[in-house]
């Protein structure tokens, strides 16, 4: 029985590696790629926000740097992305250290506000430094060079399959990073800082240093996810990679799943990605019409049809409030609580079970 929890992720991984052979629908692959991207984002944020308790609402900055530097090098300097992403990642990590040294003087809500401001600065720079970033027009990737190893073409990126594997690798890598953090001195120090900064300080923990380490790790992998996003979508502009909405997405994935746990962001991604796709594909208004809650041709129906697809910010907001109120430890913590109660022989109260 004890081996089961260890075997389960391995089995899931084997299944995911084999999946593209069985799954031919490009949309299904697309969904999986979005899921891997969300997992990578959530796990990256989790190192800083979950373990260290520094709630950054400015991770768009590192995401955007990863996306922009990779794209600019590819499009304007013809540097292949598997080379170009390294300077991108290094730029994100280096600038995160500069930003961290300044903003980590602030605690709690003041740090959150500073993180939002920093991301806004990066967004405004990308928007206005037109000679370098192409400004609001953004950067459209003309084509991705084929990936060659020793003169042999590995892939020419005509299908989604190479992106699927790259995304899977990133997701697995960031999960592994969280595991490594959790099982090291860093993890102990990060959590001590999260629980009580003064106590941590008095126990010999250099607060700013360890917060910067957490931020640099977090920014590094966030930049990887940004580079991956840019190459997969093939187009970036300040609104899609550097906006506050992007930053909020990072926070949501972790909070909904359960912050400060390795599996939390995975669970969060499994909630957020299908939800945002359902909103985008107008599934929600279809359901409302099919249940005859509102007539499709009535003014209210037309309004819903036109606007519900754009209402994801509202839905996310409601979701966040519900999670914070009823599941402060995230979906994962909530499920664990239910399981523990079952095991103790009490049937879970109906009200909570349906919440």
């Amino acid at each position: 029985m004890r081996a089961l929890p260890a075997l389960l992720p391995l089995a899931a991984l084997a299944l995911l590696v084999a999946l593209p052979a069985a799954m031919t629908s490009p949309y299904a692959l697309h969904l999986m790629i979005l899921l891997f991207l969300a997992i990578t984002q959530g796990e990256s944020w989790n190192v800083l926000g979950g373990y260290t308790g520094q709630y950054s609402v400015g991770h768009a900055a590192w995401f955007g740097i990863g996306a922009y530097v990779t794209m600019m090098l590819l499009q304007f300097h013809h540097v292949a992305p598997w080379w170009g992403m390294w300077p991108a990642v290094a730029a994100a990590a280096a600038s995160s250290l500069v930003v961290g040294s300044i903003t980590f003087r602030l605690r709690g809500p003041y740090f959150v506000l500073a993180s939002i401001a920093v991301a806004e600065i990066f967004r405004l720079v990308a928007l206005n430094w037109k000679d370098v970033t192409n400004g609001a027009e953004g950067i459209l990737m003309s084509d991705l060079p084929p990936l060659q190893v020793a003169g042999h073409v590995l892939t020419d990126f005509t299908s989604k399959v190479p992106f699927y594997y790259a995304g899977l690798a990133l997701a697995v890598l960031t999960i592994a990073v969280n595991w490594a953090v959790h099982h090291s001195k860093l993890g102990y120090y990060f959590q001590a800082i999260r629980e009580d900064q003064d106590a941590a300080h008095s126990l010999g923990i250099a607060l700013t240093f360890y917060k910067n380490v957490a931020l640099a790790i977090s920014a590094l992998f966030t930049a990887c996810s940004g580079a991956f996003y840019a190459l997969y979508v093939g187009f970036i502009d300040p609104a899609t990679v550097l906006s506050t909405e992007v930053s909020v997405q990072f926070v949501l994935i972790s909070i909904i799943g359960g912050i400060g746990t390795i599996a939390g962001p995975v669970v969060g991604a499994l909630v957020i990605v299908p939800l945002s796709e359902a909103l985008r594909a107008n599934l929600l208004s279809d359901v409302i019409f099919r249940l005859h809650l509102v007539d499709e041709t009535s003014p209210a129906g037309l309004f819903l049809k036109d606007n519900l697809a754009h209402a994801h910010a509202l839905i996310y907001g409601i979701l966040m409030v519900v999670v914070i109120l009823f599941m402060p430890e995230g979906v994962l913590g909530f499920a664990r609580g239910l399981l523990a109660r079952r095991r103790r022989g009490h049937a879970p109260p109906v009200a909570e079970g349906s919440a």
Binding site: H183, S184, K185, Y188, Y189, Q191, A192, R194, E195, D196, D198, A199, A200, H201, S202, L203, G204, I205, A206, L207, G260
Partner: protein, 242 residues
Amino acid sequence: MATTPILEIRHVSRFFGGLAANSDVSFSMEEKMIMGLIGPNGAGKTTLFNCITGFYPPSRGEVLFDGHRINGLAPDKVCKLGMARTWQKVRPLAKMTVLDNVMVGALARTNRLSEAAELAMRQLRHVRLDHKARSLAGGLPIGERKKLEVARVLATQPRLLLLDEVMGGLNPAESEEIIQLILDTKRSGVTQMVIEHDMKAIMRISDRIVVLNSGEKLAEGLPREIVANPEVVAAYLGESAE
């Protein structure tokens, strides 16, 4: 005296705006002694701890640890040098286990988790909290939280330990356990400064006592000299010294 005092406080003052929380406090401590620090509420005892351990730098004056000036050093550096403190209001790392709490302390001296776990378990056995090693620290009752605080700070292997009201809020049996812990710690060679309101306890364990009143040092001496000092009695009972 030939040996350097382990802690020397020279004319330390600390101002908050116009208020002097400490003013011109000086005393020194010899190795392996227990110094009692007493005074009425608001006398500046905790502020003095904060000045010594780097949480507030002193506005004036000097703090010397083992002959080296340490004012201006951050608390983590002070801890690494071998001076550690507990908190009047206990600060358990609530969502971590009792063992993990103590391991955080032990990690000040080692980078290896297995070694830290071993050191931490030894401290937990020492304070008789090893049976709670796997419990979450946030769920402990106050008596065990105080013990956890002591185990965690001892795990940083201090040469000088500053205890801020570790007996506050405890019942007599729990206080007695803490007293025994403090005396054990003394026997193991650690120097201690103890803030405590329980006069009986402080008179029993202290080798010397410093009395603070309104931020200033009112008296210093052996416990029996302190109880006989009319100024100290006046400060506590609010009578005039005449």
